[in-house]
Amino acid sequence: AQSVTQPDARVTVSEGASLQLRCKYSYFGTPYLFWYVQYPRQGLQLLLKYYPGDPVVQGVNGFEAEFSKSNSSFHLRKASVHWSDWAVYFCAVSHMGYKLTFGTGTSLLVDP
């Protein structure tokens, strides 16, 4: 069965510093992978998605993620974090695009 692991429940970074949020997936076959973000008092919003192809995908607000089949990973990165990035980030894997399997989420705290 497919699964997603986000090993860090909480990550704290200073504003302007770089960021990596980790995501490991388990999936038989070629996965479709997603990063969603949930800002305070809002619904989940799609940051970026990976479909088989270029392993580095660009998302909104300067986020990018890199797919690695050998490491079964899909880590999220940002070169310079802004205070407005304070949110919970969810990694998800899917076979059909709608039946998403989510990780437990990583709360990102930004130090001013």
Binding site: L44, Q45, T101, F102
Partner: protein, 116 residues
């Protein structure tokens, strides 16, 4: 961007009572979903709904659960009767299309259900 609204944001009820969670999906969307998240755990797929019918449901979608969207109004999740293990945050989502290449889901803020 497109918004999915969920009502109520939080509901507390006694075990055995009925609860209805309401979802107002994006206006032109055709596919509707419910996900369940227990605190500190993964968000899990419950059910998806299209053209007035349940397309697929998970093992979490117990017999006490039902969904409907009468006359294009709210997409609802009803639990009758509720059990303690139903305490969770329930997320509604909608999409215009389905499938990996086109089916971007738009999520609501969640409805937190507490069963006492």
């Amino acid at each position: 961007g497109p918004k999915v609204l969920q009502i109520p944001s939080h509901q507390i009820i006694d075990m055995g009572q009925m609860v209805t969670l309401n979802c107002d999906p994006v206006s032109n969307h055709l596919y509707f979903y419910w996900y369940k998240q227990i605190l500190g755990q993964q968000m899990e797929f419950l059910v998806n709904f299209y053209n007035g019918k349940v397309m697929e449901k998970s093992k979490l979608f117990k017999d006490q659960f039902s969904v409907e969207r009468p006359d294009g109004s709210y997409f609802t999740l009803k639990i009758q009767p509720t059990a303690l293990e139903d305490s969770a945050v329930y997320f509604c989502a909608s999409s215009l299309e389905t499938g990996a290449n086109t089916g971007q889901l738009y999520f609501g803020e969640g409805s937190k259900l507490t069963v006492l």
